[in-house]
Structure formats: C-alpha cells, structure tokens
C-alpha cells in the first residue's frame, strides 16, 4: 500500500514533464500523446490525460488549435508555448539532477 502511494506520487511529478517533452516535438492530439505514454507505461487510461492538459494549458505552458476531423467532432491539437519551452528546459535540468542524485545515493555504501 505504501509503495503504491509513493509510486503514484513519483509518477505525478514526472507526468507533466513527460507530456511537455512529447508535445515539444510536434503538435499533438490527446490520443497521440496517450499512445506514447502508454508505450512508456506512464499512463494506462486516457481520462488521466485531459485534466493534465487543461491544467498545463491554463498555466500558459500549452496552447491549442482546433482541427476538423473525419470522424466526429473537431480535435484539439496542443502545442508548446514559449513559457512552456522555458519550463521544459528547467524540468529537464532538474530531472537530470534527480537521476544523478538517486544514482549517487544508490551507489554509495
């Protein structure tokens, strides 16, 4: 139970970083993002993604445009904003620091 909790906490912090990474590469539609995340085993269900995207959009890190779709309603395509890029590079740096820190702790006796 405790491990579950800690895992959830860890994932939570990393999720937003990963979403920014994916969107920074290309304009993305939510299912595309899910596909990548699912491959990396970060997210299993799509429902998780929508609140995260909305939150990132609300804090100005992402923006979106509507695109017509052959199936069903128009789609929201997300892209990264300037603020988002800045945040992303900060997150990259701090992720590397964390990984290094964990390595050091794990390997020291």
């Amino acid at each position: 139970m405790k491990a579950e909790n800690a895992k959830a906490q860890m994932r939570k912090g990393v999720l937003e970083y990963c979403i920014l990474e994916i969107i920074s590469r290309r304009h993305s539609y939510a299912p595309d993002i899910i596909e990548e995340m699912r491959k990396a085993k970060m997210i299993v269900v799509e429902g998780t993604l929508y609140p995260l995207l909305t939150r990132l959009k609300n804090s100005g890190l992402l923006s979106y445009r509507w695109e017509e779709s052959q199936f069903g309603p128009p789609r929201k395509y997300y892209e990264i904003t300037e603020d988002g890029s800045i945040t992303l590079s900060e997150l990259r740096a701090s992720w590397d620091e964390i990984v290094k820190a964990v390595e050091i702790v794990k390997n020291s006796n």
Partner: protein
C-alpha cells in the same frame, strides 16, 4: 429485439441501445462529478465527451450502426474509470476533499432540485417562473398568487420578492437549468440543452459545486423547512407591523388622534423634530429595525428553498446598510440635541391699569373649553382643537411685591434653540393672553407656541407685581398655574387658593380664612 435511443454527444448524433445507454449514462455522471470540483472541470468534461464521440464515430460502420454495450465497455476501458485517473491527475489538496463530496454528487444528479431564477421566461426578475419550476406548478398560477399576495398586504410582500431576486441565482449553465427543472443531468439531457449554452464560464461550474457543499451542510430536512416558514412568517409580520406603525406615526397623526386618543408619544415626535429630520429619523429607524427582519426572512427562504447564494456578501452588505442606518440615526439625534444647545430669556413687562379695593385673580375657563389637551413629556402638552394641533405649556405663576405703586405683570419667556438667535426667536413666539373684566384678572391656563414651531423646552414665568397694601383673592381655579408663591404663612400652593391675601412689606400675608 432491442429498443434504441438517440443521443447527442458533442453535437454528434448516435443511436444507442437501452442497456448501453444506461451504462454510458452512469459512466458519464461519474466522470461529471469527478471533475466538477476541478477549476476547469467543464472544459475537461467536454474534452472527454468529444473524445468519446470520436471513438464512437470510428466504430460505427455500415454493419454496426447502433452503439451497443460492448462498444461502451471498450470506450470505458480506453478512457478509464474516474477512480483510475484520479491518482495521477489531481492536486494533493483536491484529493482530500474528493471522497466525501463524491457521494453527494451522485446523489444530486439523481434527485436534487434547486431554486433558480428562470430568466428565459421572466417578467421582472424570473423569481415567479423559478418558483414554478421548483414547485412544479404553472408559472401563471404562481404569478397570480404573488399578485394577490401583493394586493392583500398592500405591497409589503414586495421585499420578499426583492430578497429572492437578489439572493437567488439565475440558471445560467445547462447543468443549472436542469437542476432548476429537476431533470437528471444525463448525456441526453445535456445534449438537449446544449444549444442554450452560449459560453462555458468555468466560474459557473465552480459555483454549482459550491452549491453542492452548501446543500450538504444545510441538510434540508422537513424540520429546516418548518423553521424556514416560521422565520419568514415572523420576519414578514413584524415588517408589516413596523412599516404600518412608522407610516401611521409619520403621516396620519390627525387620524390617529381620533382613533387612539391615548396614543401620544409617537405623535410628539413631529413636534420635536423638524419635518426633514423627522423623516430621516423614521427612515433610519426603518433601516435599523428592518434590516435584521429582512435577514430573518432571507434565512427563512434559505431554509425553505434549495438555492445557492453568497450568504457572506448578503450578510456583509446588510451589515453595511445597517451601520449606515445607525450613523444616520445617531447624527440626526445629535442634530436634534443641537437644537437644544442654546437658550434665551426675554422679559416683557405690562402695566395693568386697574385699581380696585380687592383684585380677584381667576383662570379664563372659556378660552380652552373646546379643546382637548393631552399631556406629553415634561411641561409639553398637546392642544387639539378640531383638526388643529398646537403645543402648549403651563405658565408658572408667582406673586411678588412691586417696587413702585403700579400693578405690573412680568412675563419671562424662555426657550432653547440651536443658537442664541433662534432661541430668542422661539421665545418671542410664545403667545400668552389674559384679560381684565371689572376687578378680576383672568389668566389663560396655557401659553401657546406658533403653529409651525417645534417644542424647544419653552417656558413662561408669570410674575404679578403688586404694591404694598393690595388685597388679592386667589381663586381655586388658579391651581394648575400657581408655582411656589412666597407667603408669610409658608402655605403650599394648594392651600393658598380660595383665600384673600394682602401684600405687606414682609411679603404676602393671609388675610382671612374662609
């Protein structure tokens, strides 16, 4: 054979069979309540709905034209259950609140009906049409009932309307409209209503979630509703009494006199305060007493009906108005005190040309025989003669020895005012009359103020100066006005009347006892 329904998700129409519909409906209402606490919950929900619409569209083929249960299961598997996505997406703070509120959300989507104002079919503020949805009766009937109530109470029901107008929110979002009509919030219903939705302000969404919490806290039981009715009744009837009381006191003083001859103190206000001051004071009293009553009515409607309002701002603004009322009342009262801040005395001396053996002193009984005199505060009295009202007072009558050989009547007129000049003017306007018939001097029982003058502690001291050797007879009628006349026998006023007296160098001396 299976029955199918038509639903509209994100503007796209699907045929769905009944079992699949039930499943989708319960799934979406779970998603709905899960995100409705979120700041942009509305947006998230509509994103999810349009994704579902897309997934359905991609699965509808020439062979498979109807959404079935299997398809719904697949979609739920793709999207995930709210329990599954809560762990990753939420803020830590949100999560704590999530658990208890979840229950009430499910509840609410099933049965709760809320009071909203219906602006779509309003005449004035949509209060009546809102109530008609709430009670499920015809709008017209509610309006007729309200108009009857308005006439029956001569307009006093109006504040109740205004309170509801201010306090009850109007139904703006689709969800609120459904709540207003008591329809469950389902995909089908939202689809039906979605055209009415012009904007999607997240604030609205947030508001209706707050409503949920408030609703839960209130625990709108039957008991609460009974207390609500009692509160409205108390507030309402007291308000009627207050308005009528103040109205009567300010406007119908003449009428009140005849109807209730003993009802004096309210009327006296008019004679103390100037016109504008009087109405300001009445208005501020109305505010000071009325605001708490309106709040009682408000709390009553809050208990009786299920509606969302910002109680904090209602109470704060009421408090603000109430404080203003207090300030106005206090400053008016201080203004009135100011009207009593200065005083002035004017002296008038009249020589009386009479030289009888014995001077008879009596009261002019005829002068006020047609009037009714009501006792007020202090020395102030109200004289009512037909429809006219005048302020009168008892003069204080004294007898002294004259320094010369003349008989003199000295009148000391005293009044207060907001400065010396106005005090002098008030004093000058004191009217007093007496008459001489043969060897009798008749005094009026009262001095009279000018009909436009207000009561400013006016007083009149009458001093009859008689030379040594003058014999006078004090009639018993004089008792109301004589005031501590010095005499050698040290008799009280009451014992002095009905006797002959002679003025000697040592003072007024009893001549004979009848």
């Amino acid at each position: 054979m299976k029955k199918t329904l038509t639903i509209n998700i994100s503007g796209i129409v699907f045929n769905i069979d009944e079992d699949a519909y039930e499943k989708l409906k319960s799934y979406l209402s779970k998603v709905n309540s899960h995100f409705s606490d979120e700041e942009s919950g509305y947006e998230i929900i509509s994103d999810i709905e349009s994704r579902i619409a897309e997934l359905f569209s991609s699965r509808i083929t020439a062979e498979q034209t109807v959404v079935d249960e299997k398809m719904v299961d697949q979609i739920i598997a793709i999207m995930g259950l709210p329990e599954e996505f809560s762990e990753a997406g939420e803020n830590p703070d949100d999560e704590k609140e999530k658990k208890p509120s979840q229950e009430s959300h499910v509840n609410y989507s099933q049965k709760t009906k809320k009071l909203y104002r219906d602006l779509d079919s309003r005449v004035i503020g949509g209060v009546c049409s809102g109530l008609s949805h709430y009670f499920n009766i015809d709008k017209l009937l509610v309006r007729i009932i309200f108009i009857i109530l308005l006439i029956a109470t001569s307009g006093v029901a109006l504040p109740v309307y205004i309170i509801l107008w201010i306090a009850v929110p109007n139904a703006r979002t689709t969800a609120q409209r459904l709540e207003m009509k008591g329809e469950p919030i389902t995909v089908e219903n939202i689809g039906k209503k979605v055209k009415e939705e012009v904007t999607n302000p997240p604030k609205e969404n947030y508001r209706y979630n707050q409503a949920e919490r408030e609703n839960r806290d209130n625990g709108l039981s039957v008991f609460g509703k009974i207390i609500g009715i009692i509160l409205i009744f108390i507030g309402f009837s007291t308000l009627i009494a207050l308005v009528f009381g103040l109205f009567a006191a300010s406007k119908f003083t003449g009428m009140m006199h005849h109807a209730m001859p003993n009802f004096d103190n309210g009327i006296l206000m008019n004679h103390i305060f100037s016109q504008s001051m009087g109405s300001t004071l009445l208005l501020s009293i109305l505010i000071i007493v009325g605001i708490p009553l309106l709040l009682i009515i408000y709390s009553g409607t809050k208990l009786l009906f299920n509606y969302v309002s910002n109680s904090r701002s209602v109470y704060l603004s009421a408090l603000g108005i109430w404080v203003i009322g207090i300030i106005v009342a206090a400053s008016t009262a201080f203004g009135a005190i100011d009207d009593f801040s200065s005083n002035a005395t004017i002296n008038e001396k009249k020589e009386l040309t009479l030289n009888p053996d014995t001077l008879y002193l009596d009261l002019n009984k005829d002068r006020f025989s047609n009037s009714v005199v009501k006792v007020g505060i202090n020395n102030m009295k109200l004289l009512v003669d037909g429809n006219r009202e005048r302020i009168v007072g008892n003069p204080k009558f004294d007898i002294e020895r004259s320094d010369n050989h003349r008989i003199e009547l000295s009148m000391n007129k005293y009044s207060k005012g907001n400065n010396y000049r106005s005090a002098t003017r008030n004093a000058t306007k004191i009217e007093y009359s007496y008459k001489i018939i043969g060897d009798t001097l008749f005094f009026d029982q009262y001095f009279i103020l000018d009909k436009n003058d207000k009561w400013r502690s006016q007083n009149l001291k009458l001093t009859l100066k008689i030379p040594e050797g003058t014999i006078i007879y004090l009639d018993e009628n004089l008792l109301p006005i004589i005031h501590n006349i010095k005499n050698t026998s040290n008799l009280w006023d009451g014992d002095m009347t009905g006797n002959f007296w002679i003025m000697k160098s040592e003072g007024l001396t009893l001549l004979s006892k009848n």
